[in-house]
């Protein structure tokens, strides 16, 4: 294992220490339980946005905390969901009196830990809603699986919902907006290489020199299918079509119902993309691919979208939701409308994403 680390068990702690030293104007870090929060938290009267998940996906989520985006982020161990006490304490620290929205990627671990945290926070009198992101088209059905994983759309949702929170949307409206972003976003990822969880010390899987994994998540897990290595254009086409040609997707998720005061099953349906849609195209580096490669993917994606009648109105290209040093990429398309465009363009100042300020 070749990494710029000290003891594997100290990776997350020392990363957080580094962030605290490097960006005191943007974030503060609390240890035991660990969470990253806005340097100016709590922002009075603003709904607080909290996300979290395993570490190893940097800049997500700690690097997405700041003005116009998250108020708090709870980092777990590498690829391991954080614990409810982190999420509870983060909520207590950042909530500015207008409630807390948890943005949760749909992984069994994240979902269960955030559910426990939401219950705990509510029992302490904090208004909480919680929205799942499940956008990974590599997962075809939700009946025989834990449902689609939360991947690239998470970053876009955090930006857009963060801007709306800054604008003064209330908790209910933010939850609705986050749900809207989620059902309009879809992603698909692939890996050229595996990655190595520091504590495990060896690559999660072996991938021969001439093979790749299609339909991977972001945890170094093998994907849906292993196949022989293809060109950037062929890979882009596979990923893009898996998104664009994805039919309507419906599933039942659990959401907190504020009126009933309990978790209820909600059925959601993602509408398929159609010609004429305006989209945001997000080409994500899994972490270890050379930066020169991403525009090559974008180039082909642009061509495919054009052919399919999708108009790319915004883009995001780079490592935003990574799997440690894995080589590979993912594509996310999000259908945009005027509200989303305005919120996307709004100023943001975080470690990993910054513009307009």
């Amino acid at each position: 294992m070749k990494k710029l680390i000290n003891k594997p068990e100290d990776v997350v702690k020392e990363e957080l220490e580094g962030l605290a030293l490097a960006y005191p104007d943007i974030v503060k870090v609390h240890f035991d339980p660990d969470y990253v929060y806005r340097a100016d938290a709590p922002v009075k009267g603003k709904v607080a946005l909290i996300s979290g998940g395993g570490s190893g996906h940097e800049p997500m989520h700690g690097g997405l905390v700041g003005l116009g985006m998250l108020d708090g982020a709870c980092p777990g161990q590498v690829f391991t969901s954080p614990t409810p006490d982190q999420m509870l304490e983060a909520a207590k620290m950042v909530h500015g009196g207008a409630g807390v929205l948890y943005i949760v990627k749909n992984y069994t671990g994240d979902v269960m830990n955030f559910e426990m945290a939401a219950d705990m926070a509510r029992s302490e009198g904090i208004r909480v809603l919680s929205i799942l992101i499940d956008d990974d088209t590599a997962v075809k059905d939700s009946t025989w699986t834990a449902g689609r994983r939360g991947v690239g759309t998470t970053v876009l949702a955090e930006k857009i919902v963060g801007a709306a929170a800054e604008k003064g949307y209330d908790l209910k409206k933010l939850a609705d907006l986050c749900r809207k972003v989620n059902i309009n976003g879809r992603s698909m990822g692939m890996a050229l290489t595996s990655c190595t969880v520091p504590m495990a010390g060896k690559p999660t899987f072996d991938l021969p020199e001439d093979e790749m994994e299609i339909g991977v998540g972001i945890h170094g897990e093998p994907g849906r299918e292993r196949m022989s290595l293809k060109t950037a254009d062929e890979i882009t086409e596979m990923l893009a079509l898996s998104i664009i040609d994805d039919p309507a997707y419906s599933r039942t998720v659990r959401e907190l119902d504020e009126e009933k005061g309990e978790w209820v099953d909600v059925t959601l349906e993602d509408p398929p993309f159609k010609a004429g849609d305006q989209v945001l195209a997000f080409v994500n580096n899994m972490g270890g691919s050379a930066a020169v490669e991403l525009p090559i993917i974008y180039r082909k994606l642009h061509e495919i979208c054009e052919k399919k009648g999708l108009k790319i109105v915004r883009n995001l290209i780079g490592p935003y939701i990574t799997s440690l040093e894995m080589q590979g990429c993912s594509i996310t398309l999000l259908k945009m409308d005027d509200e989303l465009l305005e919120l996307w363009d709004a100023p943001v100042k975080t470690i990993g994403m910054r513009w307009g300020i």
């Binding site: 409810p84 426990m116 170094g220």
Partner: protein, 212 residues
């Protein structure tokens, strides 16, 4: 043969040892169909339990188990944290206040643990999860108690059933948790969570055997 709180404490310590010894094994199983952290997660959790035990040495068995569960919840994360955490907390509530446990209490403990796991994770039998190891153990205990079996026998049968349940996950297609994303590719691999469940139940049996 009654089980004392000292036995419970020892059993938890023994579990921590077993998990620690099997850390790499569990993580390897999780590499195949998950994200290569189950052993690491469980080990972190049981080390957290060890740290908490001194504070509950004079408490009842229920409190001890609940404390262990809370330690798991706040240290493990991932899927295993809330699942095992809830299991231990529910088990503790099922024997709240007791300082001595009889064979029937073992049923109460494991049944509550199983219900906790299902309440939290909503897995069904044959979804290729820890439920597939714990369910047969609970069933066999219930049966054995009906036949008048004692602590050791009950737990030995439970361990054997859990082991079989664990092995039975190999040909299953995962429908819950991370492994479900692999679809057909999850077939042929033993579920890491079912494996840790077997290891924990087996540790209970071994403790009882030694005590006898």
């Amino acid at each position: 043969m009654a089980i004392t709180t000292v036995d419970v404490l020892n059993c938890l310590r023994q579990m921590a040892d077993v998990i620690h010894e099997n850390k790499e094994y569990l993580t390897d199983l999780d590499s195949a169909i998950g994200d290569a952290d189950h052993g690491i997660n469980m080990d972190r959790g049981f080390q957290a339990i060890l740290k908490k035990l001194p504070s509950v040495e004079d408490k009842d068995a229920g409190t001890i188990l609940k404390t262990a569960g809370m330690a798991l919840v706040s240290s493990v994360g991932g899927a295993a944290g809330p699942l095992y955490g809830t299991a231990f907390m529910q088990a503790g509530m099922a024997i709240a206040g007791k300082y001595e446990l009889e064979a029937e209490d073992l049923l109460a403990i494991l049944d509550a643990a199983l219900k906790g796991v299902i309440m939290r994770g909503r897995a069904n039998l044959a979804d290729k999860t820890m439920v597939d190891a714990i369910t047969p153990a609970v069933n066999v205990i219930r049966e054995a108690l009906g036949n008048g079996a004692g602590t050791v026998e009950v737990l030995e049968q439970a361990a054997a059933a859990a082991k079989k349940g664990m092995k039975d996950t190999i040909p299953m297609l995962a429908k819950k948790g991370r492994a479900s994303y692999l679809g057909e590719r999850s077939i042929g691999h033993q579920d890491p969570g079912a494996t840790s469940s077997y290891l924990l139940i087996n540790t209970m049996a071994e403790m009882a055997r030694v005590k006898e």
